[in-house]
Amino acid sequence: MKNYDPIEILIVEDNPADSELMIRSLKKQGLLNELCLVEDGQAALDFIFCEGEYAHKNKNKIPKVVFLDLKLPKISGLEVLAAIKSHPDKKKIPVVVVTSSKEDPDIKAAYELGANSYVVKPVNFDDFVASIQEIGLFWLVLNQPPV
């Protein structure tokens, strides 16, 4: 585990309840990766492109997966997604879109922009935990990112 990258999961979520529940469910599953939580779109972009607050950050460290809420302050989730997927280096970062409803018309837009997957935040916590764990497991353990 020498070349283990400590920052593996980026969660972009403005609702602290949702983010806490999400982090809890991932930890409960035993995925003890390093998590970073940002609460708006601008912060997400700064983190990924190492700008602003994250300008000192090692540019070579990129997250293994991004959980991205679509409804975000400042810059929307779709804009963040577009920025990631249009960048030659960053576009290979897997992005899982997190949404409140499967009826969300933004899901379609997200897929068109290159989202790798999506997960609905169900009202029922058990269901939510199950889907977060499933998605996290897939992207962190099973899926090998392209070199």
């Binding site: 609702n15 309840a17 949702d18 529940l21 409140s100 409803s101 009826e103 009202v123 916590f125 939510f128």
Partner: protein, 736 residues
């Protein structure tokens, strides 16, 4: 003529022979008579059937012929009766040699026969001839018969002759000569050798026109014919000789001969006879000639008469044609009001056609155009002068004229006429004027009328133009008014468009609102539920029973709220949903929904009966939602019964299909029926039956979008029936 000559020649010879024999026999006959007793009174002879004219059978079947009659006469002269049998030659010849008969009347004497028979004096001498088919060219003399096929009667002299001269071996024997001639005629053999006279007679009687005798004589085949008796019967022979002598002497022979062969010509013809013959020929000739001449004369006369009659007919035709043409001209003149005239300059004679008289209104009887009757005034004084001048000029200078003049006919009618004339010259001298006169009154009238009409028309056109102009002006005004209206309309339309846009915008806003409401309502709910869950799981040991019960209440309420939000979202979504219609197999749909929405355990206490369900036309997803809602309602509200009875059926009414879902559940009071389909309307409390009160509102909205209706019937405690209708052909579906 040839035949005639031959016959005459033969008869001459015969005559000479008979005369010489006659003289001789007269002395001898008397001697015989002295020493002969009348021992034999009756003798039997036999005659051939077909040796005319000597021996043959008449139409009654009796023997007849010159020889037969001569024999009877000779026998009678010596007091003998004769019985005559008929038989073919070969047979009777045999009969005689055997003694069955006593004598034969006609036997040619030959050296061969003298061995068997005795012969009387010959009474007839005949020459033979060769008969061939017409057109035979290779037999010109007796020598040409060599090796030819020659037909003869069996046992006849001819056969004997042929054997004697040995000219051919190909002898065809026949029973009679009749047979021989028929066979030759039918193409058998080359020739017949027989007696010339007999042969010719046979040809005549058999009418064999294709058989002819050849003219060369067969000299060696001369036959002397005698009566014959059996060899050695000298007694009968001498009596027959006697009888023969008697009949020759007493001219009976001549009489018989005359009867069979006609009168015998005398050797020399007298002057008178010559004249007689000449006359015989001349008279018929003159007679014939006259007939022919008369015939030709009559024919010529007839032809001439015919041609004359033809000429008369032609002439008559010409006259008729002329008459009809004259009539036609006159009729034509009457109809067209035209007349022709002719003026002879030398005789000053004027000739008019009927048409001129017609125009002038005078009759031929009353008016002579040559005299110019002064009591008739046809023209005005002025016009009269013009006419007179033109006429004079035409006669003197040869100038033609063509004038339109006012005119008054004898019967007082005012007319317009047109008269024209052309002079005719002969050797530079004007000899005649030929002209015509035309009644142009109607033409003039027509012209005037036309002129008037034209003027009237001009006035009318002016008036109409004016009217039209006014109308155009009015129309222009109307058009302007219309334009204003259109402008108004456009304004209204624009306003409407704006309104619609506004409406659409607000609709979108509303949609966005309901979406974000449901969206944003979910987030805190998720928090409430999620953290309650954490509380219950991770802090369970610190919570007492009351704390746990409260956590559960929070959880249940949160779940219910989540459900409400989902239903609200689904309901608002219905408006955005775009429908796709197709035929739906309702029966299959109901069965599959039933199995999807119920568990095996539930189905044990549910009794679902599905009647015949007709296929519907609509959006599959939406109609499925309708059935899900109604079926689950029926099962839900009958779940308190021991057995849930659900009956599904359909029927057709007018242009609609009606579907019915009936249950045996708790039912409802009909006074709340109008509230049944409202959003969030519930008729039962949450404790008894869970639900959000959106299901039936969704059902109603879907059915309305399909152009159908939904209603329910029920009584409290006695179950409920829910109905909905769909148009049969899928019309009236709202597509927005």
């Amino acid at each position: 003529m040839l035949m005639k000559t031959l016959r005459l020649n033969n008869l001459n010879i015969l005559l000479l022979l008979l005369l010489s024999f006659g003289c001789f026999m007269e002395v001898k006959g008397i001697q015989i008579k002295e020493d002969t007793t009348l021992k034999i009174d009756k003798i039997i002879i036999a005659s051939e059937p077909d040796y005319p004219p000597y021996c043959f059978v008449d139409k009654n079947g009796n023997a007849d012929g010159f020889s037969v009659e001569l024999f009877i006469a000779a026998a009678k002269a010596v007091h003998m009766d004769v019985e005559i049998k008929i038989g073919i030659w070969n047979k009777i010849k045999q009969d005689l040699s055997e003694g069955t008969i006593d004598a034969l009347p006609l036997v040619g004497r030959t050296s061969e026969r003298e061995k068997f028979y005795d012969f009387t004096l010959p009474y007839l001498s005949l020459h033979g001839a060769v008969f061939v088919r017409e057109g035979t060219t290779d037999i010109l003399s007796i020598q040409d018969l060599e090796n030819k096929n020659i037909l003869v009667m069996k046992g006849d002299n001819a056969e004997e002759f042929l054997h004697r001269v040995k000219i051919t071996k190909n002898i065809i024997q026949t029973y009679t000569y009749e047979e021989a001639f028929r066979r030759l005629a039918s193409g058998e053999g080359d020739a017949i050798l027989t007696q010339r006279v007999m042969g010719i007679k046979l040809i005549e009687s058999l009418q064999l026109k294709t058989i002819v005798p050849l003219s060369f004589p067969v000299n060696e085949f001369r036959q002397d014919f005698c009566f014959a008796v059996k060899k050695g019967d000298t007694e009968l022979l001498s009596r027959l000789n006697e009888g023969l002598s008697i009949v020759i002497a007493n001219k009976t022979f001549d009489a018989i001969h005359l009867r069979w062969f006609g009168p015998v010509n005398q050797q020399r013809l007298t002057y008178f006879e010559v004249i007689k013959y000449v006359l015989y020929f001349l008279i018929p000739f003159v007679f014939l000639f006259s007939i022919v001449a008369i015939f030709f004369l009559r024919r010529t006369v007839r032809l001439r008469t015919n041609s004359l009659q033809q000429e008369i007919i032609e002439h008559q035709k010409t006259v008729n044609t002329l008459n009809s043409q004259q009539l036609l001209l006159s009729e034509m003149e009457k109809v067209t009001k035209v007349g022709g005239w002719e003026y002879d300059v030398a005789t000053k004679k004027m000739v008019w056609t009927d048409g001129v008289y017609q125009i002038y209104g005078v009759s031929k009887k009353d008016y002579n155009p040559s005299e110019m009757n002064p009591e008739f005034k046809f023209y005005d004084k002025e016009d009269q002068e013009v006419v007179d001048f033109a006429f004079k000029q035409a006669i003197e200078n040869g100038s033609s004229f063509d004038l339109n003049l006012r005119f008054k006919s004898a019967d007082g009618k005012a007319k317009w006429i047109r008269t024209s004339a052309k002079p005719e010259r002969k050797e530079e001298k004007i000899i005649r004027l030929i002209g015509n006169i035309l009644d142009i009154t109607e033409q003039k009238q027509s012209e005037e009328e036309l002129l008037k009409l034209k003027n009237d028309l001009e006035i009318i056109v002016l008036e109409r133009t004016k009217e039209l102009h006014e109308k155009v002006l009015r129309l222009n005004k109307s058009q302007k008014a219309m334009l204003y209206m259109v402008e108004d309309l456009n304004t209204v339309t624009n306003e409407l468009k704006l309104e619609r846009e506004k409406l659409e915008a607000s609709n979108k806003e509303l949609e966005a609102f309901s979406y974000s409401v449901s969206h944003d309502l979910r987030a805190p709910l998720r928090g409430v539920l999620g953290f309650t869950q954490i509380l219950m799981e991770e802090y369970a040991v610190k919570l007492d029973d009351e704390g746990k019960r409260i956590c559960n209440i929070i959880k249940d309420n949160s779940v219910k709220m989540g459900q409400l939000i989902d239903d609200l979202l689904a309901f608002s979504r219905l408006n955005r949903y775009s429908m796709h219609s197709s035929e739906i197999n309702i029966e299959n749909m109901v069965i599959s929904i039933y199995h999807e929405t119920t568990e095996e355990e539930d189905r044990k206490r549910i009794e679902l009966s599905i009647g015949q369900l007709k296929n519907a036309f609509g959006d599959t997803n939406l109609i499925k939602q309708v059935w899900i809602n109604l079926l689950s309602n029926a099962i839900k509200f009958s779940s308190k019964k021991d057995v849930s009875k659900v009956v599904v059926s359909s029927y057709k009414e007018n242009e609609n299909l009606i579907y019915c879902i009936q249950d045996n559940g708790t039912g409802f009071d009909m006074k709340y029926a109008d509230k049944l389909f409202g959003v969030f309307q519930r008729l039962h409390n949450e404790r008894d039956f869970k639900g959000t009160g959106v299901g039936l509102a969704i059902v109603q909205r879907i059915i309305h979008r399909h152009g159908g209706k939904v209603w329910a019937e029920s009584e409290v405690g006695k179950g409920a029936s829910f109905y909905f209708s769909l148009p049969i052909n899928g019309n009236n579906i709202s597509l927005d």
